[in-house]
Amino acid sequence: MADQSENGIGDLRITRRSFIKGCTMAAAALGLSETMIPRLVSAATSPQRPPVVWLHFQECTGCTESLLRASHPDIGRLILDLISLDYHETVMAAAGYQAEENLKNTIEKYDGKYICVVEGAIPTKDGGVYCKIGGRTAMDILAEVAPRSAAVIAIGSCASFGGLQAAAPNPTGAVGVRDLVRGKPIINIPGCPPNPISFLGTVLHYLTWKKLPVTDNLGRPLFAYGRKIHDHCERRAHFDEGRFVEQFGDEGHRQGYCLYKVGCKGPATFSNCPAVRFNDVDQWPVSAGHGCCGCTEPGFWDSMTPFEQRLPEVEVPLGKGTVTSAESVGRTVMGITAGAIGIHAAAGVVRRLAKGTAKKDEIREE
């Protein structure tokens, strides 16, 4: 890495050069012209930029990890530098009472001005007892912090839609922020994890124009989630031509053909992954050879699984929880129908043979 010093410990300062580089990447993701970059830079360095309270609930910290461990160090540091992070359980130095004190102070001091970032789903069943921090439930903390913020950013699919925790049968009643917080601007940055650039772009947009970017019907910013993966995937030419991977490891797979037939969810998933890619190594799942898992979509653990099949399976009513592919259910129904038609026709023939030509018996006036 460029700015790693000789003893192997990363230099934690961020140079102006890499700072501007980061802003430029975010501007590119936002689809802004380069002439806007100075505005982003000045907003990002403004001393009046709002503090951020980062709440962790039911989650794996993967979203934070992906921000901090971006191989391109600029992004992670830029984010930490950019937003004045007053409360973040993973990276703050304070602990215990001191940490909770920080949270309280920020809320008091910046009432209505701070940004509340939420990572993780919020369990609601049984009074929300399944996630507690400092003796308080996630529901309580969110109900206290979110209404007094200026805006809420839900980072990751858990905070956006409930994520893995909300997968059927959702034992803890996990929900996303939007289901609990009303009357505040909320933006969703789903993904498992989301691309750090999408988060950075959203924050910079907010700092520069004092409002959240335009979103789709699910609260996702259009600059990052405005287009389906399938519509700007590098394998799309193979899709249109009908060249598919039939099995992992086959000749088509080696040739880099389209992953549709091995369960790619790109046609049903909105995200900028093929354009922005991850960790500055120019990779994303499809370029690595596995189909998209659809992680930015609501309920993806239920509707996008099995990950190697295109459509979810259905539960067969008679089989006590047996699942099978929707197609085999359809085939069974078609088979039964064909059988029924055959029996019906045969019954008519047998009947007529038994009765002779009894056509006149068939009709009666109304």
């Binding site: 609501p298 509707s303 078609m334 009666r364």
Partner: protein, 220 residues
């Protein structure tokens, strides 16, 4: 003994046109739709020819989808402004006449009761067509939601109805089997009726005329 039939006008031209637009677009939609689900023949061998197989299949699917929607709109009009045989009042099993006819048709199909001639469809068929019509609206809604995923307006109602693209795909795919089921049963019953009762039911959807017997046949 021989039968005496009289020719009656049963179905208007618009009705017959919608029927055949439905039939043809459904065959195309089923074929291309199944191909989109599982592209079973492909250009794997890289013939060096740009034949754009999947892209073309999708194009024919969308083109047929638009024709299908046109037919559904025309049928919607006919439910209310068509002739007596085409109207919703002849299909819905809510009036006494229709309820009686509904059960009569089921028993007739089970070889239990006599066939009762009726100029329009029997109420069982009418009800089935109404259900098919409603499912076609779901098919069109999910189809258009899949076709214009980036449109803000389509997202607003499509998202509200289906939740996500993936759910819409699933609904769209599952309902395909209803259309296969319907096509099988529909064609069988139509031919069966023609064979059994000689009313010219199959040709009625081409010519518009049906033959109803005028004399009660003698029962020995």
């Amino acid at each position: 003994m021989s039968y005496e039939f009289e020719k009656y006008r049963a179905f208007g031209p618009l009705y017959r046109i919608t029927h055949w637009v439905f039939a043809i677009s459904c065959v195309i939609l089923l074929f291309t739709g199944y191909y989109i689900y599982e592209p079973w023949f492909t250009t794997m061998l890289e013939k060096g020819v740009d034949d754009f197989t999947v892209a073309n299949m999708r194009f024919f699917h969308f083109a047929a989808g638009y024709c299908f929607m046109g037919a559904v709109i025309a049928r919607f009009y006919l439910w209310f402004f068509g002739n007596r045989q085409e109207r919703i009042t002849d299909a819905l099993p809510v009036t006494k006449r229709n309820i009686k006819n509904f059960w009569g048709a089921i028993l007739n199909y089970l070889y239990v009761k006599f066939h009762v001639p009726r100029l329009g469809h029997n109420a069982l068929a009418g009800t089935t067509y109404l259900v098919t019509f409603l499912l076609s609206m779901v098919m069109i809604a999910s189809g258009f939601y899949l076709l214009y995923p980036e449109s803000v307006q389509v997202q607003a109602w499509g998202g509200a109805v289906f939740g996500s693209q993936q759910n819409a795909r699933f609904v769209h795919f599952i309902l395909m089997f209803y259309y296969i089921f319907f096509a099988m049963v529909h064609i069988y019953i139509a031919i069966w009726n023609d064979v059994m009762f000689g009313e010219g039911l199959v040709s009625a959807i081409i010519s518009g005329s049906k033959f109803l017997h005028i004399k009660r046949p003698r029962v020995d």
